[in-house]
Symmetry: C2
Subunit: 298 residues, 2 copies
């Protein structure tokens, strides 16, 4: 089983309005909602691929109840006293633009974190791979992901940004999966591809970095590879990073070699971009792309 | 006791952001929430004045639980299967502007409405005055307020707009309390003060209409009066209409004569505008204004 951890999950609400006009009152025409958060999205992609997955993390309050009730994957979340956050995405019919408002999330008490880490250790001990993904809620130290990596007997894929990513590197995860901006910002470099590849090569931790339409790079102590889809695709980029992380977690569990691991992740994230529904994967496209993705050693 | 009815109450959430930029992602810096809806606001003002008040209406789901739990006035709401709505007010620090997003509210089933009307009849039978205020949720007919007026042995103050106001007039409420726009729109006239006073005089139902900085007019079959505050005040206009309605409901219960009723309502709504907190009333200002409001017969 692959274990995904979402410490700051969200109830993602979408409001459809005729046109978003700052300072005005809007009648919301349609309300939709579903569970969100990077780890939960990764779990959904894995379940769609037929993988055994267990989603864990922290939830609280009635919003936490909604998140767990609508997950549609196996889960074992720890309860906290604060209420889980919401995000509100306002979709304006007039211009098709989406405006996102993300709540910070509940404050997590030290004893709640201590309880969670104990439970996490037990779940990680019976997992093939662990995925830690997304932002940390208020109250949790930047070293929280590092602490979980230290407690996991299973290899850990870390999909984080900023300080939690930088501090997490010190705990030697099996793989980190930042995008170009997240990697550049955590390492204090520019986003130029050549510069980023140099940064990856200097790290002791394997890195799979997404480069938007330029594909992705996988760098390990054994070598570096670059992969790109056969054609540049346009579409719904939301969730492409989560599909990328999901594929890498599955590939690690199956012990794919490095070029295969990268090709598979690029194929899956590209098919996610081509799916009409944000955050879902078009399995037919994925199978077609899987053999067409070009990998070269750097 | 004064009974207030809120058929489409809301959990009013305020998001504070650095600046609202359509199409962008925003980190919400602060989240605040409290129960809302016109009838609930009227009940709050009455409770602040020391009146005995009971809030009723329809609530559902966890959001309905939050509304009832945080009311801070006596309440007896009927439960429905749908979930109560939220409103999201986005306050932008950069320009001080507020952008409001109002959900439509839950669909009310016919059997839920039938149950509510029965319970309402019992509550109205032991009330001095009934206040019906705010919009109707999906599923309820435009004649819903008219139906409640027909079932109430106590005099009814109707604070509604559009069709529910127009249809409600036929059921002979004791008083309607529209603002100038609502009255003009329901009657199909312009918003010119002289024209509105003519409209009021032709109605068989007593009307108290707010005219913004021009004060207010009360028109009954016995005569018409105009009142304005001693000075033009500026400030937080949110909730001024609810304070106006609350004062009129209390005045009816106490059988104030028409000029007193109007003076009192103008004093209370003006002191609400002058309060630093939206929807609250500055009692000190109210007492000071009470004797200074000028009423003249038209």
């Amino acid at each position: 089983v692959i274990l995904t951890v979402t410490l700051n999950p969200a109830w993602d609400v979408t409001y459809r309005v005729a046109a978003l006009e700052p300072g005005q009152t809007h009648r919301v025409e349609r309300v939709e909602a579903r569970p969100g958060g990077k780890g939960i999205n990764v779990a959904r992609v894995l379940a769609a691929l037929g993988e055994q997955v267990l989603a864990t993390g922290l939830v609280g309050g009635p919003t936490g109840d909604s998140i767990v009730a609508e997950l549609a994957v196996d889960s074992d979340f720890a309860r906290i006293s604060g209420e889980s956050r919401r995000t509100v995405a306002v979709w304006s019919e007039a211009d098709g633009q989406t405006t996102l408002l993300a709540e910070p999330g509940p404050y997590v008490q030290p004893y709640e974190w201590a309880e969670f880490t104990t439970g996490f250790g037990k779940l990680a001990a019976v997992s093939e791979v662990v995925v830690l993904a997304g932002s940390l809620p208020p109250g949790l130290a930047d070293a929280s992901y590092a602490e979980l990596i230290g407690r996991s007997p299973a290899p850990v894929v870390l999909d984080a940004a900023a300080e939690p990513l930088r501090v997490g590197l010190g705990a030697q995860p099996a793989l980190i999966t930042p995008n170009a901006d997240e990697l550049a910002s955590a390492m204090g470099t520019g986003t130029d591809v050549t510069e980023l590849i140099e940064v990856c090569r200097r790290l002791e931790v394997p890195v799979a970095v997404t480069l938007g339409t330029s594909g992705a790079v996988l760098s390990t102590p054994a070598g570096s590879w670059s992969a790109r889809p056969p054609t540049v695709v346009h579409g719904n980029a939301t969730g492409a990073g989560d599909a990328f992380t999901a594929a890498l977690a599955r590939g690690l569990a199956r012990r794919f070699d490095a070029p295969d691991l990268l090709a598979d992740a690029v194929a899956l994230s590209t098919s996610s971009v081509m799916s009409p529904v944000a955050g879902e994967v078009d399995l037919h496209t994925y199978r077609r792309l899987r053999s067409a993705v070009m990998v070269r050693e750097l």
